[in-house]
Amino acid sequence: MPLMITRKKVLYIRLPYELDVKDFKAVQEDILKYSDVKEVRLDFKDVPYLQSKLIAELIGIKKTTISKNIKLVLTNIQEGVQQVLEISNLLDHFTLDRDFSSYSLHELSYLLLDPEMNESVIEFIVGNFNEQYAQLVDEFLSSDDPILIESALLIIGKSHNYEYTETVKTCLDSPYPNVVRSAILVLGWFGDEESKQKIYEFLKDEHIDVAEAAAATIALLADENDALAIKEYLDSDDERLRKIAIQALSLINDEFSFKFLVEHLKKENNEFLRAHLAKAISYFNKPEVANILLNMLKEDSLKIREAAASSLIRIKATDKIDEIMSLVHDKDVWVAYFAVKAIGELCKDQKCSEDLIKLYPTVDTQVRIAIIEALGKIGADESEFLFQLLDDANEDIRKEALNSISLLNKEMAIESAYNALKDSSWVVRFKAVEILEELKPNGFEEKLKIHTKSETNRYVKDKIYSVVGEL
């Protein structure tokens, strides 16, 4: 027979291993008996398989709960049951959930070893931490299993259990890198400044995860002396260590850190790390940052230019619009491209749109596309200019123009989108459907349905079906 309890208007029913029709009948009766219940949770933890004759009973329970306006949740469904529900096309009709409260301590320990379950089990124990779970944590800590020890540390850290601080410190001497890493992080979360000196030793650890945790924790616990100690790692031959040092200095974010990062920018040759530096420097709230990023916008590497442009956008460098605009004239296509991208995000002034339109005939196709996109983002109504571009020979230009019109002039966008359904390029037709879906003009679904009769492209057809439903 099913085991049943109620708590806060929720009826919990644990189903037996050998589930039978009579058990589901009993469930039905229980639901009817408890008139004030708002939710029923059927626990399938012990049920490995669902016979097909039980499907009808389960549907009956679902119908009963719907008629009584009760939420039905199936918990701890095992693979065998899930497969039966999938085959019967019923999976979408039920709400599934995991409920660890019906698992024994032994079972929970076992689940922790499953990488897919580990995080949610830890979350459950943290949320329900009591004497029983404290004992479990002690057992894990004295075990030989690195996953269980790590789980114990994360439970301690996440539940802010400061009485374990000394135990966590002893885990810094563990032979297991994952345990050491977790101990370092937890000591950082606990703000344990006493451990900082010892954590410094791990900056040179052969396991990069451990070194990274050490740098992050030192940054988290940092005082005015720590930037200098971290700076040493900017000169390491190991690129990974240099990256970690950049991240840590950016998090410490004091005067010294800024100075060290700017100095390092002069000598760092790695393209990836320079892009990383652009981002790290942009986290400092300092007037000189925008000029540093403007200079990086002119570097040879596309990666660095992209990082510089997005960092200028991030810091909202609106006072640098004139300087960025001057880069739009750069003979290097990609400098111009990223400058236009930045203008599109930063400027909301019609003057910027006018300047970009003047420039349009003189620039490369890639920059033209960026200008069209920027015009849509700036917001000044330049739809007349964009309208002319709908006849351009290049399909990407037509598509981008259509998109920007949709951001600036709804009436023109609807008319243009209907016309664009006849465009020779499927990419443009696809964009037209997206715009009609977004703007939803009267009768658009009917017109799209008619269009499917002549549409030859599979992607456009599928898109229309997703908007109007299968015909």
Binding site: K158, G188, W189, E212, A219, L220, N253, I315
Partner: protein
């Protein structure tokens, strides 16, 4: 200093500009004050451009104190850059972080 919005039994606090030692401390005191009257506070990071470790430490301390008082502290609307700071320090595993305000209010 901080814009607030009441949503049922929750209060959304909109952080702005820079989260450092000073603004972090102000935030902590403000939220602890709000917790006297409400069980759940959502911190929206939408307007945050800069954050450093001192600011982060104040937010950790706020979490610690909210747990002690059985209150719910939820974070939302973080840019990828701010999210990276949390994951670098492993704090993404400690805080309840939601993609947007609606999700955070739902819990």
């Amino acid at each position: 200093m901080f814009e607030l919005k009441e949503e049922g039994t929750s209060v959304v606090v909109y952080l702005k500009g820079e989260v450092n030692a000073q603004t972090g401390l102000e935030l902590k005191n403000k939220v602890l004050d709000i917790f006297k009257k409400t069980p759940t506070v959502v911190l929206s990071f939408k307007g945050v451009m800069y954050m450093n470790s001192s600011g982060l430490r104040e937010i950790i301390d706020l979490l610690k104190r909210s747990k002690k008082e059985n209150k719910n502290l939820r974070l939302c609307d973080m840019s990828n850059d701010i999210k990276e700071m949390f994951s670098f320090t492993g704090l993404d595993k400690v805080f309840k972080i939601y993609s947007d305000e609606a999700q955070a209010l739902k819990g």
